[in-house]
């Protein structure tokens, strides 16, 4: 079982994008681009830093990120920021079908657990989406994502195995995701 360090996608927005080879804040995360149909973190749209804030044409692919921490998103160098025209379509023009926020979370047993309010991202050298924060009548809980989940744009269907690994705190969820992956044989 492995313990993962996790962060909410909403907390990544606004973080500086800092270059490891130069110590410069090359950009700021504007938004997290997430493909909900594949439960896959695609990358980030960016804002400029400094006096002339505003949207940047460049984007940042998740594969080019070497670390996401509480204080910054780290990239090897400024050349990791890709011009929108050259970026993968999913990143340059994220579609509405990628949206999972506000979807009802329904268990495969037919019980509505709550609504998706955030995507949970694993930090570290290979950042990826690992689950969802779900608002329930009793507060928010965290549910691990898996390829077995179905998504319609209105409903997110959670397999029975995932319910067992639901946690109500992010630290506990880090260990839970590791156990869930061990169970389903996903060690990515």
């Amino acid at each position: 079982m492995s313990q993962l360090n996790l962060i909410r996608a909403s907390e990544v927005a606004g973080l500086p994008v800092v270059t490891i080879d130069g110590g410069e804040d090359a950009a700021e995360v504007k938004d997290v681009v997430y493909d909900a149909s594949q439960h896959h973190l695609i990358g980030f749209t960016l804002n400029k830093r400094g006096w002339f804030r505003g949207s940047m044409k460049a984007t940042l692919a998740a594969d080019d990120v070497t670390g996401i921490g509480a204080d910054a998103v780290m990239v090897p160098g400024e050349d990791c920021l890709t011009d929108q025209a050259a970026a993968p379509e999913a990143l340059a023009s994220p579609g509405a079908d990628h949206d999972v926020m506000g979807n009802d979370v329904v268990s495969s047993a037919g019980i509505v657990l709550g609504k998706v309010i955030d995507v949970i991202i694993e930090t570290g050298a290979s950042p990826q989406a690992v689950g969802y924060e779900v608002e329930t009548d009793d507060g928010s809980v965290f549910i691990p994502s898996s390829a077995q989940m179905g998504l319609s744009g209105e409903n997110l269907i959670v397999p029975a195995e995932a319910e067992e690994f639901t946690r109500n705190d992010l630290v506990g969820f880090g260990a839970s995701v590791g156990s869930f992956r061990d169970l389903i044989g996903d060690n990515s």
């Binding site: 973080l15 500086p16 800092v18 270059t19 490891i20 080879d21 130069g22 110590g23 410069e24 804040d25 070497t66 670390g67 996401i68 921490g69 509480a70 204080d71 910054a72 998103v73 780290m74 930090t123 570290g124 050298a125």
Partner: protein
Amino acid sequence: MSEHHMQPMIGQPVIAIDTAEEIGDVKHFVVSTDVSRVERLHIDGRKKNALFAEWASLESFGADRVMVTAADDPSESDDDRDLDAAKGNVELLGARVLDTAGFEHGTVSDAIFDADTGSIIAIITSEQVRVEQSHVHSLGSYAVVVADT
């Protein structure tokens, strides 16, 4: 090797050996982007524009004074990194310490350098952690980036 701490050198008078004249005070250490060495000193002198003394022109770092070989060695610069250093935009001492995983660890409170060669040996953080130069990636206007441990 002659290890010196950088912080106590800030504000020390800079004296030219050839004229015995006081040129000014040490204002900043200009270090390379990879934080491997001190490239020059920014001297806060009597002139309006910033003066920089190249490492090769520095004779010694004493307990009370920094000595340069000749009074006319320090010169003005139009190099962007020098000017950023003079404005305090790129400054090792006081820089935010950020690791490669994206977590901050205070600021740089001091650095240790070899006065014989100008090589940076280590930085000391405000959390009293010594980070060897081999674990330091870069210094820019936003942060000094260190390896994730």
